[in-house]
């Protein structure tokens, strides 16, 4: 089983959106389980808002009770402000830590705080994913990428564009590409598809 954890000290950076979108796409390639470790259960709310999204989803507590499981992929969605020691434990136990971050100065400052304990623990299995990147003429995404790359922080080549369709998908309990009447919905879904390709490359 290939295990991915989505972490960031900051809330509202796209952890749950990334977890649900990646679980949807990974489940098309092999069986995937989504484990929601956020006490707000935002990911579970998303999955249960509709007719189901094709993959199994459990709270952390429910998953802890499972005696047997067999999945090709696991995606763990964490809460904002996880304890530093827990982040290090996840880095040691999971194959990949994805750290979503918006390209604004406040998010980037918290991102550096999140990365610090991982770098101190000499973890190398983490990658930053820029999310909610505004369209041109804004250059926020480009500038953030340049700054992070200059700092030697490992990043996904693909960014996730800003799209209102993510909120609609969460309300409907569907994948973002199933949102009707939004031309950016499919493009946003394709962004995550390219991220999955990078993960599996």
């Amino acid at each position: 089983m290939y295990k991915i954890a989505i972490v960031n000290e900051k809330g509202g950076v796209g952890k749950t959106t990334s977890a649900v979108s990646l679980a949807t796409l990974l489940n098309a390639r092999g069986s995937c389980v989504l484990v929601d470790a956020d006490p707000n259960h935002s990911a579970l709310d998303w999955v249960q808002a509709g007719a189901g999204m094709g993959f199994d989803a459990f709270s952390l507590e429910a998953f802890d009770q499972l005696e047997q499981f067999e999945y090709t992929f696991m995606v763990l969605d964490t809460k904002a402000g996880e304890a530093v020691k827990d982040l290090v434990v996840l880095a040691q136990s999971f194959d990949l830590l994805i750290i979503p971050s918006k390209p604004d100065p406040l998010s980037l400052r918290v991102l550096i705080q999140t990365l610090q304990p991982l770098q101190e623990a000499h973890a190398t299995n983490f990658k930053v994913l820029l999310t909610d990147v505004p369209p041109a003429p804004s250059t926020d995404g480009h500038e953030a990428r340049m700054a992070l790359q200059d700092s030697g922080i490992p990043m996904f080549a693909q960014s996730i564009r800003r799209a209102a369709a993510f909120s609609k998908a969460a309300l409907n309990g569907t994948a973002v590409n199933e949102v009707k009447g939004d031309s950016r919905a499919k493009l946003a879904h394709m962004d995550y598809d390219l991220v999955v390709r990078e993960i599996l490359a």
Partner: protein, 120 residues
């Protein structure tokens, strides 16, 4: 192990380890020997193997079930026209009662009409 993720981590790390390689062995092999059903543990490589071994629908790129017969692909094209109002209502009622889509009823009716014209 303590912390919020103590249980999940020990659960994931419970896999038997090959002492020579220090890597988890495939639990499925152990299960076969012991006659038990246990979850398999694999890495990215085996995850990729699973993906590759799945039959994939070339159109959607999604895994296709082996049992399900592959339906022939019918090319549909959006086409708008005018119909009498009462005919539209009858079409919708017929479609609902026959569990068909509106366009399927129009397709069937038009095909039947054109075949009738050809024979006549």
């Amino acid at each position: 192990m303590t912390g919020r993720f103590g249980k999940i981590v020990s659960k994931l790390n419970d896999a038997p380890v090959n002492l020579q390689t220090d890597k988890p062995v495939n639990l499925q092999e152990v299960a076969t020997l012991e006659g038990e059903t246990v979850p398999s543990v694999s890495t990215k490589e085996s995850a990729l193997e699973t993906i590759e071994s799945k039959q994939v629908n070339p159109q959607t790129g999604k895994p296709a079930s082996i049992e399900e017969p592959v339906e022939p692909v019918v090319q549909l094209e959006k086409y708008s026209t005018y119909l009498e109002s009462d005919l539209i209502m009858q079409l919708k009622i017929f479609a609902v009662s026959s569990k068909l889509k509106d366009y399927q009823v129009v397709n069937l009716a038009l095909r039947a009409y054109l075949e009738g014209q050809t024979k006549g």
